[in-house]
């Protein structure tokens, strides 16, 4: 707990730090995937400002504000983190770094990793030196994730991994992959999976990009062909990888849930829509009514994400309720983009036409309620685990 006084001091301190350290160019409020630094060995900085911003933020632990300082974080409390984020928003700062290492693997390592693993991987993630991708889904294992077939044979000092992953976001850009691998084929499906960390440069790892309906190809098929994975690259116990996988998913879902709430930089959706439509205020009464309803839901959803973060035990995330946040947040985001498309009309129907990348953005949001677990799966989790409704 913090006394009000020390929080006020903290705000002043962080404000002046941001004033001095956040480059002007990084204060343009752009938070889309293409504007933000994702880090990794192969990252090409879009500008000196982007590089400088990452270095300065990392030196201060602010790429991962809540992680302990020994792992590259700033050790902030929830209250301090809120203040940091508010101060970032005040000056329209871009986040200095975004990555699956931060939002997915990091929390799982903090919870399940050995001291050596934490000390080795976490600081590199915090500094944006290594970039991770997620090797969960397979052609035959989507919603039924626990039926993954990628195989890991015990060869004494290493596992020999063979199989295929699919829909691996940014596999072609990542340095490492965290993968679910079947290490016991005789055990019940949830009890034979291990959570392995695999270097994408290892012999036998290849990727092939897949093109999305939005035109971009940020995800891939990933193949493992006799890949040797040393034994110390397992997170959690052998054959208990499902626990790690599920824990990680709660963090992933929490992360995805907020995707839509920051879309218009604090401005009302209806106002953004009117601007896009070139109207002083939305003229179509049906569209305006839908925009207002969506705005109410967005405000309340934003408060709900805050409330659940407030409730979460320090460092543990929100647990099963992440399914609720993901469902609500992603369905909302899809609605927002449908409305934006309607407001833009035919302006938004050309690739890179008068309304820019609206169409691509709109198409991309359709994945929100699929990636990280579908809306249907989220509702089932709520029904079974939170409401306690019986299985079939």
């Amino acid at each position: 707990m913090h006394a009000e006084g020390s929080l006020t001091e903290f705000r002043a301190e962080i404000r002046s730090w941001l004033e001095q350290n956040c480059p002007q160019e990084m204060r343009d409020g752009r938070i889309t995937d293409d504007a933000i630094c994702w880090g990794g060995k192969n990252w090409v900085f879009s500008s000196d400002a982007q590089r400088l911003w990452l270095e300065r933020a990392a030196a201060r632990g602010l790429t991962v504000p809540r992680w302990p300082s020994e792992y590259g974080g700033a050790g902030l409390s929830r209250a301090e983190e809120k203040i940091f984020l508010e101060e970032m928003e005040r000056i329209n700062a871009r986040p200095p770094l975004k990555s699956f290492g931060i939002s997915m693997l990091g929390p799982a390592l903090l919870h399940f990793g050995t001291p050596e693993q934490k000390g080795h991987y976490l600081p590199q993630i915090a500094r944006g030196e290594i970039r991770w991708c997620q090797g969960y889904s397979e052609p035959g294992a989507g919603s039924d994730l626990a039926s993954v077939q990628t195989r890991g044979e015990d060869k004494g000092d290493h596992w020999l991994v063979n199989g295929q992953k699919i829909w691996t976001s940014y596999a072609d850009k990542a340095d490492w992959i965290f993968a679910l691998v079947r290490t016991d084929r005789d055990a019940p499906k949830h009890k034979g999976i291990s959570f392995l960390l695999i270097d994408m440069e290892d012999p036998g790892v290849t990727t092939r990009p897949i093109r999305l309906i939005s035109g971009a190809s940020p995800f891939c098929e990933t193949f493992f062909d006799n890949v040797q994975v040393p034994k110390d690259r397992i997170v959690g116990e052998e054959n208990r990888g499902w626990d790690v996988a599920k824990y990680l998913l709660t963090h992933e879902r929490e992360m995805i849930s907020s995707g839509g709430t920051g879309l218009s930089g604090g401005r009302a959706l209806g106002a953004v829509m009117a601007q896009m439509a070139g109207e002083p205020s939305l003229q179509d009464p049906t569209l305006r009514a839908a925009a207002i309803r969506c705005e109410l839901d967005a405000l309340a959803t934003g408060l709900t994400i805050e409330r659940y973060k407030d409730m979460a035990e320090a460092g543990n995330g929100v647990g099963d309720a992440s399914a609720m946040l993901k469902y609500v947040g992603t369905e909302l985001n899809k609605r927002r983009h449908e409305l934006i498309m309607s407001a833009c009309g035919s302006d938004a129907l050309e690739w890179d036409g008068p309304a820019g990348s609206r169409a691509a953005d709109w198409l991309r949001t359709k994945a929100n309620s699929i990636e990280g677990g579908t809306s249907e799966v989220m509702l089932t989790i709520v029904a079974r685990r939170i409401l306690g409704l019986p299985g079939a």
């Binding site: 209250a79 809120k82 401005r267 009302a268 959706l269 209806g270 106002a271 009117a274 205020s281 939305l282 305006r288 925009a291 207002i292 309803r293 705005e295 109410l296 839901d297 405000l299 309340a300 959803t301 408060l303 709900t304 805050e306 409330r307 407030d310 409730m311 309720a321 609720m324 469902y327 609500v328 249907e376 989220m378 509702l379 089932t380 709520v382 029904a383 079974r384 939170i386 409401l387 306690g388 409704l389 019986p390 299985g391 079939a392």
Partner: protein
């Protein structure tokens, strides 16, 4: 910004309220009242006052506990859960907040009387079938040193038994709020037989005399007093409706686990699981808006309009979804008078209209957000 979680004190308050109400005022109490043709239980209200709830927004100098709007919302939530008929919103929230804006010696006495359970209040505002305070037409014409009030107020919740009436009227100087005893000559009340068994009256004012002393706040400046009172009432009503939604939802989930068809609990059918899960998500999202409204009213009352309208709009749509899904997932039994779900449905409908419906509050939000 205060955390969006209940403090320890608030949790204790809500828990003790729930314990008390489950025992003293379960839904069956509303059924008994209705069957007896009554809308108000003075004994229950005295017990509630005895626990200090009526003073939740009243300063300690006036005998209140001054716990604030978030706490008032938690009490309202619990009362919504078991559909308690009481003048809590009218007296302890709306009237108390109005009086508190004035806070002179008389207002302090009036607040003390509310906190102690000696006086109940009702707010007379609507004149048409919809909430529209700015469009008030009832006149307060000058007459000597005082006023003469003429017009009709409809849908005065708790107006059937309240000792005093806060009434909004238009004087030459503008909208003016009067605080009148309910038995003032010329006031004629007709009890309304509301669908949800809540107390309400239509009050006709036939040249009712009022003096300057009867004005609460300044002549022509009703909103200085009324706006905070309405916001407090709307936030607490939103909390009551979120409690109502939670109560209907608990019944429904209970039924899904217990009712069997095709040889298994109906709650094992995914079609129903997903509807129940969606409803729970809506209830959680609304709970955040409701708690936030209480926090903003406590921390930054001058800037609460957005938070309050967000809460009332969300609570309205969520409560309506909860009762519709509640009846549907119960099947035939949900349609029977013998079963309680119908009480929830009727109260949700009345709450939806009181103090501004979804459209009214959605427009407030739209105006404040520049849509």
């Amino acid at each position: 910004m205060e955390k969006l979680v209940k403090s320890q004190d608030e949790t204790m308050l809500a828990d003790s309220a729930r314990g008390f109400l489950d025992d003293a005022a379960p839904v069956s109490a509303l059924r008994h009242l209705r069957d007896a043709g009554r809308t108000h239980d003075p004994d229950l209200w005295q017990r509630i006052c005895g626990m200090g709830w009526a003073g939740v927004l009243i300063p300690e100098d006036a005998g209140g506990s001054d716990m604030g709007h978030a706490a008032a919302g938690m009490l309202a939530h619990e009362m919504g859960r078991t559909l308690v008929n009481s003048p809590f919103l009218s007296s302890a929230v709306i009237a108390a907040t109005a009086l508190r804006q004035v806070a002179d010696a008389r207002a302090m006495d009036a607040m003390a009387a509310i906190a102690a359970g000696r006086t109940t209040y009702a707010l007379a505002i609507d004149e048409t079938h919809k909430f529209a305070p700015e469009a008030t037409a009832m006149t307060a014409g000058r007459s000597g040193n005082g006023f003469r009030l003429s017009g009709t107020k409809r849908f005065v919740i708790d107006g059937g038994f309240a000792d005093r009436i806060l009434v909004l009227a238009r004087a030459a100087e503008g909208l003016t709020l009067f605080d009148l005893p309910a038995d003032r000559a010329g006031m004629d009340r007709t009890a309304l037989n509301l669908i949800d068994g809540r107390d309400a009256a239509r009050i006709t004012f036939g040249n009712v005399e009022a003096t300057g002393d009867d004005v609460l706040g300044q002549v022509g400046d009703a909103m200085a007093v009324l706006k905070p009172a309405l916001e407090a009432g709307q936030a607490a009503l939103a909390a009551e409706m979120s409690g109502l939604a939670a109560g209907a939802f608990d019944m429904t989930v209970g039924y899904l686990k217990e009712r069997k068809q095709f040889g298994r609990p109906i709650g094992s059918f995914q079609a129903l699981q997903h509807r129940a899960a969606h409803l729970w998500c809506e209830i959680e999202v609304t709970a955040s808006a409701v708690l936030n409204a209480g926090r903003v009213l406590d921390g930054n009352p001058g800037e609460a309009a957005l938070a309050v309208s967000l809460a009332k709009a969300r609570a309205t749509s969520t409560a309506q979804l909860a009762v519709m899904e509640g009846v549907q997932m119960h099947g035939g039994i949900g349609m029977t008078d013998e079963y309680d779900m119908g009480f929830y449905m009727k109260r949700a409908r009345v709450g939806a209209e009181w103090l501004g419906d979804y459209g009214y509050h959605a427009e407030q939000v739209a105006a404040l957000r520049g849509i």
